[in-house]
């Protein structure tokens, strides 16, 4: 995957996305949140900028952006609407998995080309009723009959499932496959039925529209990625996810810090020579923000370097890397909530009020979801087990 040919080109794209954020995404964000509705304006605008093809290689008609560049766009969008940023992030993860692991498949190459051309939106079906948050375990299985296949799955959470053009779904490779022997399958609209099984009325991330669904699909066997899901997960899905989610959350944090900074500056101008109370707390919040930003930047850069070589890929499959990339998600999700909370305190009543220019209620509610998707306690427990053998040499 080659990044945009010049960083000038990418800078221009990022500025356009930032403009879309200010002019289209932000004005709709409150309504998206209030009504828990899909941010159609945001997605339409991103489609117009061809950004849904961000992670598709240039050779297949996409923008061929690197993880670092996709992450930068997630942060830009996240400053205006966390739900829109998360949808863009989640979609990009699916695309990245297909691009990286479907490169040898004529079906997937053709499908990615179509995705880029029509700016299709892909949703993820990794969750499952009865499995808890363990993405590496499935109950549902693919049943093959010659060139065709079927699958039925009770997904507990599918973000923007009803608004997607396709689903990337995990299931056991066959009826006799153990729980962790999984395949990733691409299902196109028309090939599946979606029956809503729960509703999405949450504290935050309301526009991600993530209820549960019963999915039943009938499709061609060529739509099953041959690479085992275990490999897709460690080489792409997990690191890419933690990178883009963290970047979207960084957008929320950046927006909060910007408002807090504005507030403190306004107070300082009222009484020049007197340092406002909030200034010291802002210094602390800005420090947390810097920590968050640097960890994400470091992790994303490292991932890009590792995915570029066979030796690097071996590292991506190691326990040491799994621990590290898990830590990225845990830290980012913890910091975003802390940062927004501090910024709310800095702005005081001005932020506590819902219709002021310093309001941060939605941002705080959105930020609180980060630690729950997937639950940090689960990830920490995994790390604890891995640390029983990892020596950190």
């Amino acid at each position: 995957m080659t990044p945009l040919s010049t960083s000038e080109e990418f800078r221009a794209l990022r500025e356009r996305v930032q403009a879309v954020g200010v002019e289209v995404i932000r004005p709709a964000a409150a309504d998206v949140d209030r009504r828990s509705r899909f941010p159609e304006e945001a997605i339409a605008a991103l489609r117009k900028e061809r950004v849904l093809g961000a992670a598709i290689p240039k050779t297949l008609g996409g923008l061929g952006l690197s993880l670092e560049q996709v992450s930068a766009l997630c942060t830009a969008i996240g400053q205006h609407c966390a739900a829109s940023a998360m949808i863009f992030a989640m979609h990009s993860i699916q695309v990245a998995c297909m691009a990286r692991h479907g490169a040898e498949s004529p079906f997937f190459r053709a499908y990615l080309t179509e995705c880029a051309e029509k700016q299709l939106l892909i949703a993820s079906v990794t969750s499952e009723v009865g499995v808890g948050g363990d993405m590496r375990s499935s109950i549902a299985c693919v049943r093959r009959e010659g060139p065709r296949a079927q699958v039925e799955k009770a997904a507990s959470v599918v973000s923007y499932g009803e608004h997607a053009d396709a689903l990337l779904l995990t299931a056991r490779r066959g009826p006799d496959a153990p729980a962790n022997d999984q395949a990733l399958v691409l299902l196109r609209k028309g090939e599946y039925t979606l029956t809503k099984t729960s509703s999405w009325d949450t504290l935050g991330m309301r526009g991600t529209c993530s209820p549960g669904f019963q999915i039943a699909a009938e499709f061609a066997a060529t739509q099953i990625l041959e690479v085992p899901f275990a490999a897709i997960a460690s080489l792409t899905m997990v690191p890419y996810s933690h990178g883009v989610w963290s970047s979207a959350w960084l957008g929320i944090a950046s927006d909060a810090v910007a408002r807090a900074r504005q507030f403190v500056r306004a107070e300082a101008r009222k009484r020049p020579g007197v340092t406002p109370f909030g200034a010291t707390r802002l210094a602390h919040a800005a420090n947390l923000h810097q920590t968050m930003r640097m960890q994400i930047h470091d992790a994303v850069k490292e991932y890009e370097a590792l995915s570029a070589s066979a030796e690097g890929e071996a590292v991506l499959s190691s326990i040491g890397y799994a621990i590290k990339i898990n830590n990225l998600k845990i830290t980012s999700s913890t910091l975003v909530a802390q940062i927004v909370s501090e910024c709310l305190t800095i702005c005081g009543m001005a932020a506590y009020a819902n219709e002021s220019k310093f309001s941060m209620g939605r941002q705080l509610r959105d930020a609180l979801g980060a630690a729950l998707m997937i639950a940090n306690d689960r990830i920490n427990a995994t790390n604890a087990t891995l640390l029983l053998v990892h020596k950190d040499e």
């Binding site: 590496r136 375990s137 496959a177 153990p178 729980a179 962790n180 022997d181 085992p228 275990a230 460690s234 071996a314 499959s317 190691s318 326990i319 040491g320 799994a322 995994t382 087990t385 891995l386 029983l388 053998v389 990892h390 020596k391 950190d392 040499e393």
Partner: protein, 83 residues
Amino acid sequence: MTTTEQIRSILQKHARLAVDASSLPEEADLYEAGMNSHASVALMLALEGAFDIEFPDRMLNRSVFQSIAAIRAAVEELSGGAS
């Protein structure tokens, strides 16, 4: 007990395979046989204890524990030769 027999016995106890470890072919993929990452850590700890070895971080990846043959090669490397 040979190294291989010891490995099979440890697999049986700790790897939570969907099949009987005593009859599993040496080249068979253990992950496809049902070993998940949690079980693989338990396996690693049991191997370290049984053979009095320590897997260095560079050996803590999927391929080292992929099969009975791969595990035996790793154990032999760390024990300084076959037993």
